[in-house]
Structure formats: C-alpha cells, structure tokens
Amino acid sequence: MNVSQTTFHTALLDPSQAVPGGLSDGLGQPAGSRFSVYRNNVAVSLTEALELSFPAIAKLLGEQNFKGLSGIFLRQHPPETPIMMQYGAAFPDFLAGIEQLSHIGYLPDVARLEQAVRVSYHSADATPIDPEDLQALAPDALASARFDLAPSVRLVRSSWPIHQIWAYNLEDGAPKPTGGAQDVLIHRPEFDPEVIPISPGTADFIAAMMRGEMLADANESAQAAHDTFDLSQALGLLLSAQAITHITTGDD
C-alpha cells in the first residue's frame, strides 16, 4: 500500500486519525506509536517557535494553557513558510477569537506588542538622519516635511496598559500594572529593540507620519485631539530613537 504525502500530512495534524497503513517498524509490524514521533516533532517544534516569539503570552497563560492553545493554533494556522521567525503573525488575532480568553481582554494586544518587537528585531538595518538635517529646516520646509521611518520602527496602540503588562511578565522587578490605555513605540537603535510607552498625542502624530502625511497636518490633528501634545518633544523622541531615515520637504 502506498502512502501519499496528503495521507501522511492529514494524519500528522490530526491525532484522532488512525496511523496510515503501509508504514512499519522495519520488521513488518505496523508502525503504531512510531508515527507519533513525527506528530510530536511537529507539535513540539511549532509550539516552541511560538513560545520563543511570544514569551509574555506564554508566561501569562502558563505552560499547560499555552501548550493547549498552541496545539489548536498550529492546526488552524500551520506555517506557510519555512522561516520560523515569521511564524505566528496570526496568533494575536487567533487569541482575540478564543471565547474562553475573553476575560483577559489585554492578551491580543500584548501579543501584538510581542509580534512588533520580533518584526523590529529582524527588520532591515537603516541609517538615521543627522538630527541637524531636521533642525536646519526653515519653518515652511518643516511644515511640509514628510518622514521615512526606519523599518524597525513600530507603533502598537491599545486601550490596555500593554507596556506595563509586558514588562511585568518579562523583566525582574518591574512594577505591577496599574491600568489605563497605553500606546507603545518600538525602535531599534542597533540590534536590540527598545519598547517605550508614549502619550496618545505622540502616537497620533507618529501614526500620521507613518502614513506619509505632512508634518503640519500630522501636528494639527494631534493638537486637535490632545491639547497636551508637544511637537518638539515628539520630534526629539523620533530623533533620539534614530527613527527617521529620510526627510522629504515640499521643495523636493
């Protein structure tokens, strides 16, 4: 009896299925539990890949729950690429859809934060602008400026204190989360992503600049929504984060 890869694959991902016929132990006896070695390798290796990428989620859920959820996730969303550093991009949305987890409302956003950190870690290297390039702009040019941000720069917005929860689960001595919405900027000065909470106005502004809006427009809408928004502080943050790689002004 011939065993197609379709048959093998289906039985591999569904432990309730019988072991395909035509597989033996080398002496003609049915393969039996030997097939489970492959089943186990697939489940364990993919669960480990997820745990490596979502350590705070693993900690929040506990080992058993994380393993159980990974087992469901990997069957619903098997990897579509051999590049394991990309596996699990759908994990945050998957967590959001699990009814039994709905009492932990912040879980999907913490997963989105971890996903953004991972993407930042592996993103392309980029050279930031010299801060003087920005400081030297005349007022008109500054108003019309649009930024290219480094590929490692990510913004995650949440109505939960995701930075506090994330830090509390991964860093020794981090304080207990106290509640409240948090927006988070991720940037990578050299090799290690830095994760910093930012004000909602700054997040509005950066989000607008990421969409390619002109600085004056981004500033205006951030000001309108948040009267405490401080443009020079936001620009100082982007410069110190080495986040800006190119400025285009109206003259360009």
């Binding site: 033996s24 030997r34 690429t81 590929p151």
Partner: protein, 285 residues
Amino acid sequence: MLDNSPKFPALPAAPGVGYKPQHFSDILNDAAPVEWLEIHAENYMGDGGRPIAQLRHLSEQFAISVHGVGLSIGGETELDADHLARLKHICNWLQPESFSEHLAWSTHDSHFLNDLLPLPYTKATLSRVADHIDQVQEVVGRQMLLENPSSYLAFDESTYAETEFLDEVAKRTGCGLLLDVNNVFVSATNLQIDPYAYIDAFPLARVGEIHLGGHDEETDDHGAPLLIDSHGREVADPVWTLLDYTLERSGVRPILIEWDANIPEWAELAAEAERAANALQKVPA
C-alpha cells in the same frame, strides 16, 4: 546535470559546530578546536539586525556551511521557488564553503510542518528527488550535499535500500552527500538493520561532510528500542565507535557537532569537538 566526479570537501577536514548565538563571544575569543561553523539557512532569512550582522562577522574568520532545513526536496509538489531564491541569495552574499539539505519532505499543500518527514524509496521518489536536486543546483549555482535522514518507521512500498537510493541520486545529479553518523545509528537501531553494513554500503567517496549529534532512547509499542534524533545531549559512545569505523574507510572529513536543544555552555560543546578532532587524528594519512 553537473560534473559527476566526486569533489573534495571545501570545508576543512576538522571539527565544526552548529552555530548558536549564545556562543558568539566564546567563538570569537577562542574557538579551538572548532575550525568552521554551520548555520541553518532559515534562521538568517530576516531582512537585517543581529543575526545577519553576527553571521557576516563570523564568516570573515571561519569557513561556513549553510544547511537548509526547509526546502522539502522530497516533496510531491514543486519546490517553493521563493524559498529557493532565498537560499540562492544567502549563498550569494555569504559565499559559504558548503551548502546542504535533507533527503526528506516538510511542506505539503503550502503548509510547512517544521520537521524532516520520511520518504518511500521508490523509482517515483528517486526521479522526483533527482529533478528537485537538479533544480536546486542550477538555481543556487553550486553543488549541494544531501543528508541521510533519521527514520522512525519504514514504508512497505520501498524498493531501494537507503544507501542504494542515495548513491543513485548522487550519480544522477552529481550532488555530494552529507553522512549523519548519528542518523545512521538511530535509523539502524529503529529499523533493526546493521549500522556497520550501512556504512559499508554507503558511497563514502561522495561524502563532503559528516554530522554527529545526540539522541534520546525510548521504546516502541513492542518494547523495541526507539531512538529519537533530539540533538539535545552529547554524542553517544556507540556513535563515536561507528564514526571511527567510517573514517577508517572514508579518510578524514569535516565533522560537525550538532547540539540544537538544551544548548550547553561553550566548553561542553568544544569538548565534543575535541573528541571529533581526536577521531580525525587517529585516521591514517
């Protein structure tokens, strides 16, 4: 179709290790007796950041072997052209001393299963694997080494012994072979064949690299030993003995220590490499 003549290994006939980022400073500080490093290609397919910077740095001082774990050469469907292009890209910028992949499949229905899955050794498999290797060597533009798998079960439909199958693939495609001596021991134990007879039948002249790794011991439904290729501990003593037997017949070769789970301190890994260096020294010139 590439040149069919066996090629001398481009890696030094010395110990190498599977590179782990936690050993970066140790390696730069004092790698002895390790002379070369192997990386899993898929771990260096990001756009930038530390992994690629470290690899670039290490490649200035060490010979590098690029070992793919995701191409699914034995897959029933076409090779993933995007993945093949990524392998070509890494070989282009890194210019490694060796490039290897596995006799296995891992992708089906566009789903990657992250394991090296077994193949029946039939005419149909042979022709498919040979076509895929021709394609790989053409796209990547270099000879590849094909590694023997560790097996936990056998296919009733198989008509070739694994050694015959690998020999035939190598003859048809001109590829070299990567002989994993631990895999030989694991498969031979699991399928109750003689590992020494396997080495006797293996086309050793085509071997460009040897792998060694640790395995775990379990039992099957009938209480028979079932060894698991876990790469999570030191190489077992009978595998070292099988290595000696192999080297007596093959002559010296590059030998890699694979330790991918429960990763030890550098000193423990270097001690395994030292043992490989000793095995190489015993081989008559």
